[in-house]
Amino acid sequence: MNTPKALGPDIQNLYTYKELPIGATSIGLPPGRKTGLWRYLRTFFEEKTPPCQDACPLGNWIQRFVTRLGQEKLEDAWWALKLENPFPGVCGRVCYHPCEAACNRKELEGPTSVQAIERYLADHFLHTSCTPPITKDKQGKRMAVVGSGPAGLACAYFLAVMGYKVSVFEALNELGGIPRIGIPAYRLPRHVLDKEIADILSLGIEVNTGCRVGKDMAFSRLLDYDAVFLATGSHMEAPLHIPGEEYEGVYRGLEFLSRFNRKESIRLGEKILVIGGGNVAIDVVRTLVRLDRQPLLLYRRTRAEMPAFCEEIDEALEEGIEMQYLLSPVAIQRSGHKALTLECAKMKKEGLGKDGRPLVGPIEGEYLSFQADQIILATGEAPDLSFLDQGLQLTNGLIRVNEWGQTNHDKVFAGGDVIDQPWTVSEAIGSAKRAAIAIDHYLRGENLEEIAKTGALARTMREHLGIDNGLPQRKGTLASTKDLNLAYCTPLARRKTNKLSHSDRVGNFDEVNLGMGHEEALKETERCLSCGVCKMCGNCYLFCPDAAIALDPNIDRYVIDYEYCKGCGICHNECPVGAISIQSEGEE
């Protein structure tokens, strides 16, 4: 038997047929075998941004934690989540989940339940104390954070992870901001908030409660720190400027929630009117339902224009709350001992405003009166920035900041509800993250303008800390369904989250949304299309006709061997997630 030997046209001394191996085998590689020489198209791994991660105000590592959970690597999933968000239990409950609105799966059977998955992970690790490792020591640089809501504590967390010494100053006696005093427990059980705050504090953060800057401590003392982050939130409830709003029995929405959540006693009659259409108004009426009251909600526009989250309004209606629209309060009168009368102007729609929302105006001479024992005005809040000093610039009553949260005072940054952005928990944490990353650059003496100009200013912790071991990414390219090969997508209906029945919601503050169990959450992860991000399915390896794609065990990634890739493009077509691009050879 003739054994294989190196064969090729380059061989000078040709073998006889008897000397040749049987079956045209060769141990060597004649040049013609290097099929890479044939290539005029080049495929290459290039990840795109999943729309969920792009839509998330925190830039959460959604694809990663969903995929890792799907692989039952719960610890990995947890770290991918917690690295970017110190409040997964809070966001898993109260975030308005723009990730799901952006999810490509919405074009199929409905978006992946990212929020329920996030919450599942947070609940799974509810009794596990965990903090990420502190990445580097910053040689004693000290940070001050004013305010302990989601923005303040998140900024403290991110900075502490980056090795800074952080002191938090909180005016109230408890940490937590709006989630502590505003959001009702049936939406956010307090033990979840407590646990996540405890995790943050365990990084060694110094806490000063009952310390209102501008009153208990001079603003100028903040400037002794190397940098300052202002996140005092929006707690001031502006007057409506109608007669009678100062009467006893008339409350402000946030004031009511805050007093109730801090267990102060409030005497409530039977007839309660709630004015407003935002999240605070909805929280107030749903709180009242749980106190066995039937409040009436009045709103000056219509249901469609209510700024509250749609799901919250739905749940309020499910709970039997009556809402009347196109009614604007004009005066409160006292009628008898403690009874109040609210007079409202009837409103009508008057075209669209500049922001696209319908404008409303009063119908002349048409009024409606309502009797009430209490009236709760939940018509909006504004930040109280009277404590500011040192010439900090404001715009429209909000602290003016640039895109990374820096004020006109170099070492002072701001985020959350004191800056011009949507006032939500996730936007607050997102602004804190942007600021924390900018503060890190600032404290290292780097020029933020320059870094931002070159596109090197990271939006996420994984980018900033360089711990995303993903494939090269084309920045700013969103993965759309056109990038995906949906032939690999198995139809799977969106899981429904479990909810407390309506009858079980009265007389207690038990959590309404019960989330998902382990099996349901795992099943839901299968719905993630992993848009634009390699999920190591191995399709490229299986399909490559030249066996030119292989797993490199050193980096745990698939790599293309261009000596053999002949540019057929099959991997590009068969990649379910669109993480393989194709272009002409030589094209940049």
Partner: protein, 392 residues
């Protein structure tokens, strides 16, 4: 009692095939189904690979055989012609795959009944082709085929061909060979020439440039075919010693020694023709003999010359035609008998196409005509389409 298809499936099972990629096609499908059952039930320790086409079936068999796994597949008619290009790859890479070809007439017009054009058309692809006449022979020949194919002097793929419906679907008594005896007769396949092994990288079937080795590799295959003539004979004898049955190797004959005329055929027609020969000899005293062609590739030139050198006329009964030339076996025989001092008259009967029944009487009539023509000076119209309606 087994159908020819089940007999073949049992043959593959006791040959302990390790990989079976098969795509269904009538009249072969039972083989695939039975193999799938064997694998499912654990009776056969093999990878059953459902593929999306016959082209892929053979591609998988090529790849699996190249890793050193004994591979088996089966097909018919359109499936076989769809495999065509891979047939060359299998033989060119010297991979001893065994494939059962259940003969079926090619469309159009569409047919599910047999003739031999599908397999005979593949005679130039470098495969050994053997034709069998019943279910038992089909069963036995799969065992023989692996031993022939894997012989280091041969290393070529083997096709075992039998007619669809007539053999594939009708039940006959079949003795399934004893597994222990088969294991002694057919040891496991351990290739030394081609083996895909990640730990010992080897490129297989690589390009050879115009003036390097293409001719030499083709000549190696020719040498394998030449050796196969010897090996087929040896294996049949060894089979006889192991199992008490032989088939004659490249050809088998019936009462040919003193015959004046011969019937030459292949496949199931041989059974009918044998009965005709015995009848004419015993009842009518006509000196007729039978030659059953078993191997078409390699073509048994020498063996045919030896047994036909003294007959006066040969009637070739064949279910196939090379349009524009004549019966394929007839044209092969014209070449094969070249060089005899005395050449018999050859009369070609194209018969039974598309599964048309060929009766005892048909063959008896042909033998009678041949006997009358045995001394003719010249044969008028030597290529005869038998019983074409409207053709006088």
């Amino acid at each position: 009692m087994l159908t020819g298809n089940y007999a073949a499936a049992y043959g593959a099972k006791i040959a302990r095939v390790e990989v079976a990629p098969v795509y269904p096609i009538t009249p072969q499908t039972h083989i695939m189904e039975k193999l799938a059952e064997f694998v499912e039930s654990g009776e056969l320790d093999a990878e059953f690979v459902p593929v999306e086409s016959e082209h892929s079936a053979l591609a998988v068999a090529i790849a699996s055989q190249a890793t050193g796994a004994r591979s088996f597949t089966a097909t018919s008619a359109q499936g076989l012609v769809y495999m065509h290009e891979n047939l060359f790859v299998a033989s060119g890479l010297r991979l001893p795959i065994v494939m059962v070809l259940v003969n079926r007439a090619l469309g159009a017009p569409n047919s599910i009944y047999p003739d031999l054009n599908d397999s005979l058309d593949q005679r130039d692809t470098g495969w050994i082709q053997m034709y069998v006449e019943n279910a038992q022979e089909a069963h036995d020949m799969i065992i023989q085929a692996y031993r022939i194919a894997e012989d280091k002097r041969v290393l070529l793929p083997v096709a075992i061909c039998f007619e669809g419906i007539i053999i594939s679907h009708y039940m006959e008594p079949v003795e399934i060979l004893d597994q222990q005896k088969v294991d002694r007769f057919l040891p496991p396949y351990h290739p030394e020439h081609v083996i895909l092994d990640p730990d010992r990288p080897m490129s297989v079937g690589q390009i050879v440039m115009d003036d390097s080795y293409y001719t030499e590799y083709r000549y190696q295959q020719q040498e394998g075919m030449d050796n196969a003539k010897v090996v087929i004979q040896e294996v049949d004898e060894a089979f006889g010693q192991a199992f008490g049955r032989t088939y004659g190797g490249l050809i088998s004959t019936e009462r040919i020694e003193d015959a004046e005329i011969a019937l030459l055929t292949l496949g199931s027609l041989a059974s009918t023709a044998r009965a005709v020969v015995n009848h004419l000899r015993d009842e009518k005293g006509i000196p007729v003999g039978l030659v059953k062609l078993r191997a078409v590739r390699p073509f048994p030139d020498r063996e045919l010359r030896e047994c036909l050198g003294s007959v006066k006329a040969v009637a070739i009964l064949e279910r196939d035609v090379s349009l524009g030339a004549g019966g394929i076996i007839y044209t092969e025989l014209l070449r094969g008998l070249q060089g005899l001092n005395y050449s018999p008259r050859l009369i070609d009967y194209i018969i039974g196409l598309g599964g048309r029944d060929v009766t005892f009487k048909d063959i008896q009539d042909i033998a009678g005509t041949t006997f009358e023509e045995r001394n003719a000076d010249s044969i008028d119209n030597p290529i005869r389409w038998y019983q074409v309606r409207g053709l006088s």
